[in-house]
Amino acid sequence: MDSVRFLELMVSRLLRTGVLVSGLFMVMGLGLLWATGDASCPSGVLSVDWVLFGDPFLEPSHVLFLGFFILIGTPLLRIVASATAHLVERDLVFALLNVSVLLILVVSFVLGVG
């Protein structure tokens, strides 16, 4: 299998997996919200500690937001994967292009631009 085809297949499966997994989390989150009748999103701080390590069966909205984060992370993962593939191929221009898109996203999020 040549490298372009490998990248294509990897990207294709990565995207599909991400959508499915996040969809599953959202269905579970909504289901738990209905089942428990616990409509309270946390009134305090909504941290990712809370999203990742909180007890999902106590606060169903954790599960919901984990689903959102996985979904939004999926296209970003696609960039990480293709940047790596381009680096391996020594296609430096495109590796740089991928990395700069990723950097723009991460830096703007960390700095709270927008």
Partner: protein
Amino acid sequence: MAVYWVIFGCFLVEVLFYAVFFKISRLSALLQRVICFNGAPRGMQLLFTLYALTIALGSGFLGALLGLGGGVIMVPLMVFLLGVPIHMASGASIVAVVATSSAAASVYVRDEVTNMRLGMFLELATTLGALTGASFMAMAAESLLKTVFGLSLIYASTVMWYQLRNNRRSWVNKPNDWLAERLSIGGSYYDEARGEQISYGVTRTMGTFGISYVAGIVSGLLGIGGGGIKVPAMNVVSSVPMKVAVATSNFMIGVTAAASALVYIRHGFCDGFVTAPVVLGTLVGSYIGARVTGRLRGMFLKRVFVAVLLLLGLRMIASGVGL
């Protein structure tokens, strides 16, 4: 097999990234403005979720049939039928756009229609644009957003009308310009209708790059995909074949919408109760739509929707300027 290991590794990286990244920077405080429809009684919430799910199912289905993104139809319906503030409707829509474009891109990339190199190049412009647009969104008043959204609906209606008039626009292959040559962006794809491999070049790359930036702004501002701007740009300005333009635009929208979605989440415009049913509904609706669209001739539907989009646009503008 190797493919699955890479995917597994990627997801591991993602989880680690969230864990480390969020602990270090204490971004948690930024997310606390996420609102839920907390005060409403439980029955109301259930009903609201069901309404939102139905609206999203319908607009996802229609969007796939008409070749529009789901957001263009869904946001006005959420605003007019459910009384959701437009910021929040757009926030739900932009997350749904990430989902549908990723799902569609998965198929296009597998079938080798997408020009990934062109997509990765233009992504730089759309991402910057999306951040610009989403920043404007956070500051913009409800009335302004409604007016701009109304204008974009009228634009979508005009494009659809134009497509109905000029159904078979002849496509001419042009050679790569210097930049496309330098980045080796030109490509080829297998056209099923013609039964042959078609090679194409990419001209006026910088022009399309500029338009992609504008498309990014619109996407971030309104919470829609913005394919309605990128596809004509690639097709008309850069003479990329239509099918490749659609697939490549879709490929870019995932990252563009993810960039905007992060801004929407940070400002608390992604409400769990609005967003989750909208994402799930749009995903299922557009999946069914994509299955059905091969068997259906969408001409009549398109004629109807030229009018529907125009009316929705006018109503949106009227509501925006306070009529």
